[in-house]
Amino acid sequence: MTDPTFLVLASLAGGDKHGYAMMEDIHQFAGVHLGPGTLYGAITRMEERGWIKPVPSDDRRQPYTLTAVGRTYLREQTGSLSRVFDTAAQRLNRA
């Protein structure tokens, strides 16, 4: 579970954040330290796909927010991952 795209989407699902806040948040909930290059690679791709967008701000630090398309995509991904986790947990319990 170290895909930067998924981690950034998961972070923004909790509210709008700028780059450094996302890095801190991801480190806290996933234990993964995303470098600035990796983070902005993911941000660039996701903005191109229309999953996130910048929020107007006067600060140099640019906050981002999830779009409706991004939220739907994250919901789909979370659903399919949940099914995988549930299946794995059930099978482990049976074994």
């Binding site: 470098g35 600035p36 290059g37 902005y40 690679g41 630090r61 640019q62 398309v69 739907t72």
Partner: protein, 438 residues
């Protein structure tokens, strides 16, 4: 570390920096400036650059980098020189198994730790290795650069063997070969004295043992053949294209599969192609002057490769049976002539190369060609006051591997073609940007 990170950030494409530059710099101000961050920013910049490049540009850049890296590797490889001496084994009869064992024992003595340590110190060999490696490793390295190889005659006996030493300095290569040769002679003398002493002590009749004679002293060192630059450059090109295709299409499986299939198909084709073997024999020339030796060899070569002579060889060995059924004899002889090469070696010897589809016949014909040279020369020499003499230095070898097709080269070409095909397929079936359903 901060200036390095700032420099890496400048490597992002200008359009990207225009859009994200200010906020990215703000993030860098907040981030811990360590090496990990610098590497992450650098790889992010390269990745972003590649995203802005066209497929053609990615393939061109990676292929060029691959070729340049391959050529760089070849140029960086240290040059090595090889010197060789030839020792004749003089015995009463055939070389026996005991003689072989005795030669092995002498070779082991010469390549012993004590002997090699002495040579390393006496000639100051491997100075760079000695400063950073234990002596045992340097000795092992030297051992791997020494070859004591039997020269097999056609009857399978071992009438001679060569001593070869490879080293980056040609002068030292020759000196060490000369030393190794004289140490073999010393070992042989020591062995003979021991046998004589034992026979004397046991009141037995002294049996004439094996005796080594130097027939070719350590030659001036020749550069070892360098790797085929074109082949290595092609491998670099193929590797660069493979990397480029993976970066451009992110579908490495297609490229890897076609590359593997290409290599296997080409190796399969090589397997079914008719094989061509080459046997080489070397004849030593002793002439009053180099001009005389050259003109004499040319005259002999035209007689050896004459219509009459080649017809006799073709008939004697039943060469080219298929061709003889399909084409006139003149064409068959022309083909055979093209398979023979006479190449001078420093004016003191010449090599006869013969290529044919059957390894045994290749060896026999090369041997007969050398014999024809020597016989013809002998006939001519009897009528000349200062004759040129020819002596068989290296008997014709039995080729072990075919000269053509070279399976490795074929597989390499197949690999390259497979990568190109894979790149085309990957472009055709490249993944489209994902758009989540709303």
């Amino acid at each position: 570390m901060k200036p390095l990170i700032r420099l890496a950030a400048k490597l992002y494409p200008p359009r990207w920096r225009q859009r994200y530059g200010a906020e990215f710099e703000a993030l860098l101000d907040d981030t811990n400036p360590d090496l990990k961050t610098a590497l992450d920013v650098f790889s992010g910049a390269i990745s972003m650059q590649i995203r802005t490049w066209s497929i053609g540009k990615i393939l061109a850049v990676t292929a060029s980098v691959g070729v340049l890296a391959a050529i760089g590797v070849v140029l960086a490889m240290p040059k090595s020189y090889s010197s060789q001496s030839v020792l004749k084994i003089a015995t009463n009869g055939q070389v026996s198994d005991a003689d072989r064992e005795s030669i092995m024992a002498m070779a082991n003595e010469v390549e012993s730790r004590q002997m090699l340590t002495h040579l390393i110190q006496a000639h100051g060999l491997y100075p760079a290795d000695r400063s950073r490696l234990p002596l045992e490793d340097v000795i092992e390295k030297m051992r791997s650069n020494i070859s004591i190889i039997p020269i097999q005659s056609t009857s399978g006996s071992m009438p001679a063997f060569s001593v070869q030493f490879n080293y980056p300095d040609p002068v030292l290569a020759q000196r060490v070969t000369a030393d190794l040769t004289s140490k073999l002679i010393d070992a042989n003398l020591g062995q003979r004295s021991r046998i004589a002493f034992q026979a004397h002590a046991a009141h037995r009749e002294l049996e004439p043992g094996l005796m080594l004679q130097v027939i070719d002293p350590a030659s001036p060192a020749q550069p070892l053949p360098t790797p085929n630059v074109l082949l290595i450059a092609f491998a670099g090109l193929a590797g660069g294209l493979l990397l480029g295709a993976i970066l451009a299409f992110r579908t490495w499986k297609i490229v890897a599969a076609t590359a593997l299939a290409g290599a296997l198909i080409a190796a399969g084709i090589a397997w079914f192609l008719p094989r061509q073997y080459e046997s080489i024999t070397v004849v030593r020339i002793t002439a009053p002057s180099p001009q005389e030796s050259g003109s004499n060899i040319n005259a002999l070569a035209s007689t050896v490769a004459s219509r009459e002579s080649l017809t006799q060889i073709v008939t004697q060995f039943g060469l080219y049976p298929k061709e003889r059924g399909k084409m006139p004899l003149e064409d068959v002889l022309e083909r055979m002539k093209r398979s023979i090469s006479i190449l001078p070696m420093n004016g003191a010897a010449f090599a006869i190369h013969f290529q044919y589809s059957d390894p045994q016949l290749t060896q026999k014909v090369a041997q007969l060609l050398a014999a024809k040279f020597i016989d013809l020369n002998f006939q001519q020499a009897s009528a000349t006051p200062n004759p040129v003499t020819l002596q068989l230095l290296d008997p014709a070898n039995l080729p072990q591997n075919p000269l053509f097709p070279n399976t490795r080269n074929f597989a390499g070409l197949g690999l390259g073609a497979g990568i190109l095909l894979g790149a085309i397929l990957a472009f055709r079936f490249r993944p489209r940007p994902q758009v989540a359903s709303s």
